[in-house]
């Protein structure tokens, strides 16, 4: 899978957070990314998370790696793998008690 280039910081983000520019390091801003998450059986949503692993994607939609898997192009990926894809599917595999 080819490595995706990092998207430059959105200008709107910079504008709406102008007051924070003085104290927020640019490097920190660049570490946030937007991921489109299609939770099977639920609405697709966009989550903004620090650059991290697929476990962070699960956490962002309220699930844990003990009950769900992230699928990239239909294939499960390890939860501790760094995020490479901006569009993922989340499949809840375990439900209920």
């Amino acid at each position: 899978m080819p490595t995706q280039t990092h998207t430059p910081t959105n200008a709107d983000t910079v504008r709406t957070r102008a007051a924070d520019i003085l104290i927020i390091d640019n490097a920190l801003l660049r570490q946030y990314m937007r991921v489109t998450v299609d939770v099977v059986g639920e609405k697709t949503r966009e989550v903004e998370i620090p650059e991290g692993t697929y476990a962070d994607v699960l956490d962002a939609v309220g699930l844990s790696s003990h009950e769900a898997s992230v699928l990239v192009e239909g294939r499960p990926v390890p939860a501790d793998q760094p995020i490479e894809s901006r569009t993922v599917t989340v499949l809840q595999l375990v439900k209920g008690g």
Partner: protein, 322 residues
């Protein structure tokens, strides 16, 4: 670049935090199946006395949920060519509208492709009641699961006996067993630990045999629940994953949350809980076996083994008739 399998150069599909391994589909499958076979050997489920002339009969509780379908699938693939083993899948229809019809359809779909005999039992035929009705009536002020568990154990025991089962296999996984272990420990129920060991936890040669009941074993008990679900997904094992609408047990839910939270920050916690608990339960069993235990006598109504005049099931059925 996708994360590679720890054993080869294929992309990994999962991470086992408790061992640190990343596995591709192929090696993940091998890992699950190997652990099941190992547990079967460890528990001595296939004794040397089993022969093609006198095979052992394993009755598998098949609910249609992922654990029981994966168990049935793996056992059928592993043992269907082995003349020393006869497999029978036993399904129970409790009479829960919608939920159980769907899960049993899954069970039938599974066995259609396997060389496994399939028996289905209905509470309605056996007892003249459906769980929806029992839960509504709640004659003895118990949780729905408590009633259902009494009927289920009765059905499993009687049919295992009728089918001449040597062992009754259930699909309890690592999470289920670790939760039960924590519940028994936190409730301080040492006698229950001893019962748990002799009923289903200890390897066969180390248990005290209770002639009145068919012994139980849990070949999936070394495998985390998520891995069983992932196995079903990857290898197209039919499974029904809805939750029973009558399920309400809050203590087990709290225990589950606690356990998974610990597992998240201390991978391997579930394995440690269960390993330590098994040792404790073995000691408890040794201790309790030396004490006088209640005599089992036939129930005055149905003849099932019970410690009182009438068994729990007949008490429930009688209270429903009022």
């Amino acid at each position: 670049m996708a994360m590679e399998c720890s054993k080869c150069d294929q992309p990994a599909v999962m991470h086992a935090a408790y061992s640190g391994a990343h596995l591709c589909e192929t090696h993940f499958r091998e890992s699950v199946e190997r652990r099941i076979r190992k547990r079967i050997r460890t528990d001595d489920l296939l004794p040397s006395s089993a022969t093609p002339e006198e095979p052992v009969t394993w009755v598998i509780g098949l609910s249609g949920g992922k654990d029981s379908t994966v168990l049935t699938h793996v056992l059928a693939e592993t043992f269907e060519a082995d003349p020393r083993v006869e497999l029978v899948a036993l399904s129970i229809h409790e009479g829960i509208a919608g939920y159980r019809d769907e899960s049993l359809e899954v069970a039938r779909e599974l066995v259609a492709d396997l060389d496994v005999e399939h028996v289905t039992v209905e509470y309605e035929s056996e007892y003249g009641v459906r769980m929806d009705q029992v839960a509504d009536a709640d004659p003895l002020d118990m949780a729905p699961c408590a009633y259902c568990g009494v009927f289920r154990r009765d059905v499993l025991s009687r049919y295992a006996d009728d089918l001449d089962a040597d062992v009754l296999l259930t699909g309890h996984n690592l999470d289920d067993e670790a939760e039960t272990a924590l519940m028994n420990f936190l409730e301080g129920d040492v006698a229950q630990m001893a019962k748990h060991y002799d009923a289903s936890l200890g390897p066969f040669p180390e248990r005290r045999e209770e002639p009145a009941f068919v012994p139980r074993a849990k070949p999936l008990r070394d495998i985390p629940e998520k891995e069983i679900a992932l196995y079903a997904h990857l290898f197209d094992v039919p499974s029904h994953i809805a939750e029973c609408p009558h399920s309400t047990e809050s203590f087990r839910g709290d225990i589950q949350d606690l356990m998974l939270s610990l597992e998240e920050t201390h991978p391997g916690t579930r394995h440690s809980i269960l390993a330590g608990y098994e040792d404790l339960a073995a000691m408890a069993a040794d201790r309790y076996r030396g004490e006088t235990t209640s005599e089992l006598t036939p129930c005055s109504t149905c003849g099932s083994p019970t410690t009182g005049d009438r068994c729990r099931k007949c008490e429930i059925l009688d209270s429903l008739a009022d």
